[in-house]
Each structure stands twice: as C-alpha cells, then as structure tokens.
Amino acid sequence: MSGNGRIPNWADVTLVPLVSVLLAFILSGILIWAIGESPWAAVKLMVEGAFGSSYGWGYTLYYATNFMFTGLAVAVAFQARLFNIGGEGQALLGGLGVALVCLYIPWPHWSLALLAACAGAAGFGALWALIPGYLQARRGSHIVITTIMFNFIAASLLGYVLVNVLRPQGSQDPSSPRFPAEVALPKLHEMLALVGIPFSRVPPVNISLLIAVGMCFAVWFLLWRTRLGYQIRAFGESEPAAEYAGISPARITIYVMLISGALAGLMAVNSVMGEQQRLVLNAVEGAGFIGIAVALMGRNHPFGVFLAAILFGFLYQGGAELALWTSIPRELIVVIQALVILFTGALDNMVRIPIARLFALRGAR
C-alpha cells in the first residue's frame, strides 16, 4: 500500500485514518438510527460514560491498556508484513503464564510478582507465536491460517488446563483459584493518591497502564533506533531487497513473531493479574482481535497505536454505558470496530484515492 507519492505524509498519517473512522461512525450512526435510537443521544451517552467522570476514565484506560498491548503486537508484525491474527491465543497463553507464576510461587511483594508475571506472560505468549513463526519461516505455512488455528488450539488447551489442573477441588466453575492478596497490583487511584489526585476506586485500571505506555516507547525505540528494527522494516518493505542486503528472512520472521507474541501475552498482566485476579476461560474477551483494528488505525506506529487504543477504550466503555441505558446492545461496538478495520485496512484505497485526487487537483491549480 506504499508507493503513493501524491499524498503528503502528514495527510497519509492523519487524514486517511480520520476519514476512515468518520465513515465508520457515520455508518454506525445510520445503523443506530435504523434501529430506532437517536445517534446524537448515543454519542452523548458514550462520551459522558467514557470521559465524564474518573469512573468512566478508569474503565476507558483499563480497556485501552489491553488494546495497547494487542495493538502493538499486531503493529510490530505488520511492520514486517506479517499478519498475526493470533493475538487472542497468545494472550490466552500469556494468561496461563501469569496464573502459574501467581499461584505456585509465594511472592513477598507485588512488585516482584509483577516482574515475574510479565516474564511469564511474555514468555508464554512468545512461545505460542514461535510455532507459527517457525512454520512460516522454515516451512512456508501461511501465518494467517496457522495463527487462526492456534487461537482455537489455545482455547482448547486452556479449557483442558482449567478444568483438569487449575480448578479447585469441588468447584464447578472452570477457572483457577483466586490469586493470593499479596500479588494484587496497585490500582490507578492508589497511585494517584500518592500525588494527591482523587480518582474513582472502582475501575480496574492499574499499574499495567504504565507498562503499556512504556512498551509503546520500547517498540518505537526498537523499530526506529536499533539494528533489528531497521532489519524488520526493511524486510517489510521488500523481502528480496532485505535478503540481498544480508538480512535473513527466516530469522526476522521468527524474531518478529516472538516479539509480537510477547506483547500480546503481556496483555494478560492487565486483565488476569490486574482485574480478574484469577484465570477464567475467556480472559481475553476479543482484545486480541481488537488489536488488529488498533494497529490498522494507528498506522502501525506505536504512537498511533497509543491513540487508537484510547479511542477503542472509549468505544468499549461508551458501548457498555449504551447497553446499560438504551436498547442498543454492546455488540454495536463490534460493528464499529469491524467498520474501522474495513475502512482503514481493506478499503484503504477507497479513502485514499479520492484524497489523492483532491491533492492532485490542488497541486494542478
């Protein structure tokens, strides 16, 4: 999708995604209108629900934390032109890593547990991405299909582990026991209280938010300031050229998938350790897939991912409020998300070509 010289760079990174999102919102508005609700009232409710209080902000940021991790995971892979749809499965396995670390090792303090949980989550996530990565690199099996298959295999594996291994005796619920209180992560309101800012105690937003923001910086540094990052981007731009320059495609594919899987796995630190405090069957709740929308919308740039993650955090929290107060079900958010993926990902040219024409017209004058 590169090689489009007619659109200035600033327009490419801002105008194209904004117009795409606008189109997605307009279509969603028509859908809301078609089912007999007022689009205006819906927007107002969503904005108030997500940003109108520190309670709303807390949930928005909690969801955004998840989406930053999964969005970065997809974005890193996209930089190497690899489409990792396996974020969902990688995050599930990351959750398993977190649960094992928290349940089987007695931690004296949450900070040590957090470090170990990050390692566990990233390690398990990376491992789950390594197999499709290896198969792509060495056997040429298409990563899109293998990562989809691995999502399902991960769900089965987790189901087995929860039912047969982690489930406490006598419990019917396929979930792990609660983690000990020592490993509870500090919530945002506790952290803000240290500097004297009052914040709602309810939302699950926690210290993982800082890790997610840190990861945005780390990924930016990796991609644009290190040799490996250069190789990843070169490989993504042109595989033959990269190979000619002495970059091994197999090595890059495997590295990228390891990084991508680790980032997706890290999401579990926020959801499993930060919120649920135990491992449940659907711990990821589709965040792996939202990562695709977030990465596309953020133009595969960590800063873009950061902004897009907050936008989707807003959609999620706003959507929950909508479902609470109107007859619009939560699934409306899935529709908006789909439209964003469709416009920013697949129908990119539909938005881009008219914008390019506009610029060409202006240039001709």
């Binding site: 298409h142 298959m149 089965s156 079900p329 529709v335 990902g345 697949a346």
Partner: protein, 321 residues
C-alpha cells in the same frame, strides 16, 4: 460401543458435516479463483440469522433459506468489492466482515425480537422438515442395512442431501467445464486469463458469489435444520473448521468431503462422550475439539503431504497497460 450408539454417532456426523461441507466448498471455489476468504464463518452466521428471522416472520422455511442466501451473497460482494475492486488486503477484509456480521446480527436480532440477540424458536413449517426415504420403516429391522438406511441415510433435512450433491457438482464445475477451467486459471495465473480476453474481475466476482450462495445454505441449515432458531455466535468456529478442511483437502472437492466427514465425526464424538479411552489412554474432550486445527497445522507445515494454495491467491489483479 453398541450398534445403536454407533449409528447415532454416524447420524450426527452426517448432520454436523453438512454445514462444514457447504462452507468448505464455498471457500474452495473462492480460493481456487484467487480470492482468499476467512469470512466463511460469518457469512454462515449472517445467513443463519437471516434464515431464522425470515422463516419466523414468514412462517415458511424456504423463504428463510432464500433470504439467507441473499444476505450471504451480499456479504460476499462486500468482500469482493474490497478484495477485487479496491484491491485491499483480502485477509484484513475477511477479518472485518467477520466482526461486521457478528455484531450486526446481534444488534438486529435484539432490535427485532428483543430476546437477548436471538430469534424466537422455530416450529412447524418454519423449520426444515425431515425427509424420510421410502421403505425406511420397513427396512428398519433388517440387520446391517436397516440401521444404516433407517438410522443414518433417512431422516435428515433436505439440505443434507443437497450438500453432498454439491460435491460432484463442484468437481464437475471446476474440472469439466470451461467456466471451471477459467476459474482455476484465474487463481493460478490471472494475467494469462486476461490475455485470453476473459474478464479476471468478472470471474472472481462469480466465484465470490457462488461462495456466498453456498455459505448461505450452510447458515440456513444451521439455524433451521440442525437447530430451531438463531442464537448469538451459533456458528462457533465452524467456518474456520471448514477453512481447515479445505486446506486439509488441498483445495479438492472429493477430498473436502472426506475432510468434513472426519471433522464432523470428531465433533459428533466430542459431543457424545466426555472422555474417550483409546488403547488405555484417556483422551480429553478438548483434545478432540482441537484436533481439526492441529491436523490443519500439520498439513500446512508440509510434514504429511504439503498443501500448496492456488498461486495467485490473496493478491489483487492489476491489469498491465
């Protein structure tokens, strides 16, 4: 395992394989023409919703089936528009359409029926009737033939037969007609087809439309034949199993039938038994659920006969000037 259980498992294998077979052939035709489609799942889901909703409103299952096919074809054309006309990424478009239908069906179902994103249960003419083959009752007690004829072959909804008839039909279409030859050529080398003066875009849209029709039938069977009504996410990964079966069968119709029967059997066995002892080893039900996906990965990895997709698959065709 006694004979009655055996017959029951085979019977449900046939029923469970039916939606897989439709969807598998749908994907096969689309991918043979060079358009990758990971949106089989939701075309089925959307169609299942349309079938149940319209069958409920009209009281006639066949009007529901027609609506399902129409809805599914419409979704196919959106995918086709993104993948063929606007030359977008076919896989991303597939993912987008997956979410689109998953969300929209629930929103509309909730709006129309207010039953938490499901349609009311279907009964009477709004459900697909069983077809009882002639003499099924008379032959019931004949050993071997009786159970097979009465218990397995006779009794399913008409779409089951249609699905299995689609196998030779697809084979004939792809390998014995001019259209099929061009279709396959468009998936392997679109430039050659274009040079011969045949429209690449037209052929690909035709393939995508056929894919839509078949997915529509898959979904319609799911909500009006296999169960009685639409519930949220009722496809439950079947579209992806169909995709797996297609790769497992290496994009060939007869082998696709074998693959969906195998995967249908796995599902039937997993539904019926919680744990199975095979040679003294207890196989957990989750292993059986994961097996189709594991087998597909193994096949894709080329450890057991490599699966090679159509060469021009996944890439939009740009005419040379």
């Amino acid at each position: 395992m006694d004979i009655a259980t055996f017959v029951q498992v085979l019977d449900s294998t046939l029923r469970l394989a039916t939606p897989l077979l439709f969807a598998c052939l749908a994907g096969l035709i689309s991918e043979r023409a060079g358009v990758f489609d990971i949106g089989l799942e939701v075309k089925m889901l959307g169609a299942a919703f349309m079938a149940a909703a319209i069958a409920f409103v009209s009281g006639n299952v066949w009007i529901g089936v027609a609506a399902a096919v129409a809805g599914s074809v419409l979704m196919s054309l959106v995918h086709g528009g993104a993948a063929i006309t606007f030359r977008g990424n076919q896989r991303i478009s597939g993912v987008a359409i997956n979410f689109l239908a998953a969300g929209i069906t629930v929103v509309i179902a909730q709006n129309w029926f207010r039953q938490g994103g499901r349609t009311p249960s279907l009964s009477g003419d709004a459900r697909m009737a069983r077809i009882d083959l002639p003499f099924a009752e008379n032959l019931r007690d004949v050993p071997v033939i009786g159970p097979v004829y009465h218990g397995i072959l006779s009794g399913p909804a008409p779409l089951v037969y249609v699905a299995f008839l689609c196998v030779p039909a697809t084979w004939y279409l792809l390998f014995r007609t001019r259209f099929g030859l061009r279709l396959r050529a468009v998936g392997e080398n679109p430039a050659a087809v274009d040079t011969a003066g045949v429209s690449v875009i037209g052929l690909r849209f035709a393939a995508v439309a056929i894919c839509g029709v078949l997915c529509g039938l898959a979904g319609a069977y799911l909500s009006t034949g296999l169960s009685a009504g639409f519930v949220k996410d009722m496809t439950a990964g079947r579209g992806f199993i169909a995709l797996a079966a297609m790769i497992f069968a290496k994009w060939r119709p007869w082998q696709a039938m074998g693959a969906v029967l195998l995967f249908g059997l796995l599902e039937a066995v997993a539904n019926r038994f919680q744990n199975i002892d095979i040679f003294g080893v207890a196989v957990p039900v989750q292993a059986m659920q994961a097996l189709p996906y594991i087998l597909t990965v193994v096949i894709l990895a080329g450890f057991v006969g490599k699966a090679i997709p159509p060469r021009a698959g996944g890439a939009a065709y740009v005419k040379e000037h």
